[in-house]
């Protein structure tokens, strides 16, 4: 039974009613609100399964949205506002992972795969290329010329 309760709870958290920003949270200045709206799409609701604070209905997401708007109203730049939240909730709160030593593979892995694979493909195709396989060495050319010149061929 406990398992089902926890499942139900999980669903309640995940599948709560619809999206989240309430009208009373919005900033009066449309330019600031637009910035906050954009930023909140890149911040994670840290108690939810996999939602941005913009989508989430959880109480914590609401708190984060309000803090974010406070910082922006106080004149923070986008980076400062995000840093403020990261300082309190860790890099988990950022949907864009930080660039660090341990995330190098994450950020540059795709490029590395493309490069390594590309080199592999070039090597493979060189081996496959009829131009390469069919080309004669200087020695073979000489041998061929000799054959052509010889009486047997004539």
């Amino acid at each position: 039974m406990r398992r089902f309760l926890s499942l139900a709870l999980a669903f309640a958290l995940v599948a709560g009613p619809a999206a989240a920003v309430n009208p009373d949270e919005q900033l009066p200045d449309p330019a600031l609100e637009a910035r906050a709206h954009k930023l909140s799409k890149e911040l994670r609701c840290v108690v939810c399964q996999n939602q941005s604070i913009d989508d989430s209905d959880a109480a914590l997401a609401r708190d984060l949205r309000i803090i974010l708007r406070e910082r922006i109203s106080a004149g923070d730049t986008d980076a400062q506002a995000v840093d403020y939240l990261v300082a309190r909730y860790g890099s988990f709160v950022q949907l864009k992972p930080p660039m660090r030593l341990d995330t190098l593979a994450l950020w540059f892995g795709p490029l590395a795969v493309l490069l390594v694979g590309g080199i592999g493909a070039v090597v493979y195709m060189r081996g496959r290329s009829p131009a390469k396989a069919g080309a004669l060495t200087a020695e073979e050319e000489a041998e061929l010329a000799e054959m052509l010149d010889s009486d047997e061929v004539r």
Binding site: P17, A18, P23, K41, N50, D102, V113, Y124, M125, P130
Partner: protein, 655 residues
């Protein structure tokens, strides 16, 4: 009674799968025809018994037999009968039974329709298939038995999660499983070929339809899942880069690569060893998908039925299949015969490039999905990988691949000339240029990306449709005949590649121009939104079959005329949970999406979104799937034919 029949059927199926795992492999090794025949019969019987077990469970659901624990947990007498039936695979145990059923059906298919295969190859494929079936039947019986009884039986069951009571549930999981499990056939063929030490065009001719048969439902399933999330979750997203979505995307990307590389192997005998590796990895990633959902190692919207014991078992299956098959690959692959030669600038070269990009894309999704787990293990620090990451890594790799798609079918096999290729793509290039010129004045310099996206879509659509156009134009004297004799595989290719163009169109539109608004509304209030006037005309309680809803009605006046939308918040008393049914006006130019939230003293919270062109995302996805189906309908005729088949898409020589 029925549950016990199902239970025994499953046990018999497990025993049969063990026979199937041993007899044909041994028979093939010794050249014993009888043992090999045993494998075929075991596979067919196993399929019958698993189907029987599945039927028993489904019937228990439909008839509300709450003495079966699983039924009591996921069904309710007030639940509509279609969802009582679909609830069969709405739980962990039931969905694993569906998985095993599909595995058994594919195995039976190889046994029934594989008569033209080399006998030893068929026997080995069935043998490997038997090992997989035994592993999963064991998993089902030992960790997730669907037929456990409850005593005393409850009078009423617990309702299936209302979110799952949707046509989406009826089709989404079976389609995905048809895809995941379908790749097991390619995997079995790959391992069997490694055991035999022989990979040739005949092998590829056999594998390609099976890969296609898996790819078609997987494509449809992913598309359907995206549409389902869009209308059901209530906040209008179509892709969330959620771990479980990623889990289905990875086999799709690699399966797409496999589909293309098998083509090279079939036509030209090249890329043999790489195709085998792709077949192994694609199925491994399908298993990873299962593992992700079942183990709860990643937090996700889909992480139901989380249980570490099951996770460990599936991880074991995953490690054993991947590890053993890769070891076999390392041992046997170097001895595989390499095929015909080709120049870099050729159809073969183009498909190699396609494979390179698709592999890099798969790696991106893999890194994005698993890095958080890995970093948390190593550094004990939690990071999140969300949409901003994929926008910076996935998109830059996907865009050049999309641009290259048009070239592929225009390339000649073996060798080609750059000058001639450029002449062939003149038409799509003009289409793309026009799209750019028309779009730029509207979007301005800031919207160069948007204009580029539209141009890319035009390039893809024109470049695909042109293949048919050229063909029919050159045969215009006998147009009817030219149309009738067009191989279906070419039509399929055109539809699928044009589908990519539609997908690009949809993604570009909704990414560039979507907008939203949140406000409190009362009946009679009006608001201007995205060129429309939205008026709330009513707000009342309505009764559904197994729910009560607060329904808001809106009348909308916009450029496309006036219409009404209804948006509901549903409360399911027996499940004690609520869902949102958004009101959505679907149109080719864009969707209007309205959902209602909590009530407050200022009225009720109304959220509205404008999603331009979003419908083309799903039309594009389904077009790809339909293209695959058209292609498969062609191939089925030719499979097993001894005669050498015609090249797939012979480009018309440039004048």
């Amino acid at each position: 009674m029925l549950a016990e029949v199902g239970q025994f059927a499953l046990i018999l199926a497990l025993l049969l799968s063990l026979v199937q795992a041993v007899a044909p492999l041994w028979g093939a090794q010794r050249g014993d025809g009888v043992l090999m025949a045993v494998g075929r019969h075991a596979a067919l019987l196993q399929a019958i018994f698993v189907a029987l077990a599945f039927g028993c469970l489904a019937w228990s659901y439909v008839t509300c037999d709450f003495s079966v624990a699983l039924v009591a947990q996921h069904s309710h007498t007030t639940q509509p009968v279609a969802y009582r039936f679909a609830a069969t695979w709405g739980s962990h145990e039931g969905s694993m039974l569906l998985w095993v059923l599909i595995l058994a059906i594919y195995g039976g298919g190889v046994a029934a329709f594989g008569g033209t295969l080399r006998e030893t190859l068929q026997a080995r494929v069935l043998g490997v298939q038997g090992v997989l079936a035994a592993a999963f039947l064991g998993f089902l019986l030992f960790t997730s038995n669907p037929f456990l009884r409850l005593s005393p039986a409850p009078v009423e069951g617990t309702e299936l999660n209302p979110l799952l009571q949707d046509p989406g549930l009826v089709f989404h999981p079976p389609l995905l499983y048809l895809g995941y499990v379908g790749f097991s056939v390619a995997f079995c063929f790959a391992v069997a070929a490694l055991i035999e030490g022989r990979v040739d065009a005949a092998w590829a001719r056999w594998v390609r339809p099976w890969v296609l048969a898996a790819w078609i439902p997987l494509t449809a399933g992913i598309t359907l899942g995206s549409a389902w999330a869009y209308y059901e979750l209530g906040w209008g997203g179509w892709w969330f880069w959620d771990p479980v979505e990623n889990a289905s995307l990875m086999p799709w990307l690699l399966g797409t690569a496999l589909l293309h590389s098998a083509l090279v192997l079939e036509r030209r005998g090249a890329l043999a060893s790489w195709t085998i590796l792709l077949a192994i990895l694609t199925f491994s990633l399908s298993l990873v998908g299962t593992f992700l959902v079942r183990s709860g190692i990643l937090t996700s919207v889909h992480a139901f039925a989380v249980d570490p014991k099951r996770g460990v078992y599936i991880l074991g299956i995953l490690a054993a299949t991947t590890g053993l098959s890769l070891a076999l690959y390392g041992w046997r692959a170097p001895g595989l015969r390499s095929g015909a030669l080709f120049q870099p600038l050729s159809r073969e070269g183009g498909i190699t490039l396609n494979n390179l990009f698709l592999t890099a894309l798969t790696a991106t999704v893999f890194l994005g999905t698993f890095s958080p787990v890995f970093i948390e293990m190593v550094n004990n620090d939690k990071i999140s990988v969300g949409p901003p990451y994929y926008a910076r890594t996935f998109a830059p790799l996907a865009i050049p691949l999309l641009a290259l798609v048009v070239f592929g079918p225009m390339l000649n096999w073996k060798r080609d000339e750059a000058r001639k290729i450029l002449a062939r793509v003149r038409l799509p290039a003009i289409a793309a240029g026009l799209a750019l010129l028309v779009a730029l004045p509207f979007v301005g310099l800031k919207g160069v990306g948007t204009a580029g996206g539209l141009a890319l879509a035009a390039w893809l659509i024109a470049g695909s449709v042109m293949i048919l156009g050229r063909r029919w134009w050159s045969g215009r004297a006998y147009l009817g005949r030219a149309i009738r004799t067009t191989p279906r595989s070419i039509v399929g290719l055109v539809v699928a590649h044009a589908g990519l163009g539609l997908l690009t169109l949809g993604i570009t539109g909704v990414t560039a121009w979507d907008s939203d608004k949140v406000l409190n509304m009362k009946v009679g209030d009006s608001v201007a939104f995205a060129g429309r006037t939205v008026t709330m005309t009513g707000y009342e309680l309505v009764e559904g079959v197994n729910y009560q809803a607060k329904q808001a009605r809106f009348s909308i006046k916009g450029p496309t005329g006036a219409y009404e939308l209804r948006s509901e918040k549903r409360w399911f008393p027996s499940a004690q949970s609520q869902t949102t049914e958004a009101g959505i006006r679907v149109g080719p130019l864009g969707n209007l999406y309205v959902s209602v939230g909590e009530e407050s003293e200022a009225g009720v919270i109304v959220r509205m979104w404008n999603h331009p062109l979003i419908i083309w995302i799903w039309i594009g996805g389904f077009a790809m799937s339909i293209g695959g189906a058209i292609s498969l309908s062609d191939r089925r005729v030719r499979v097993g034919a001894a005669v050498k088949t015609q090249p797939l898409a012979q480009p018309v020589a440039a004048e």
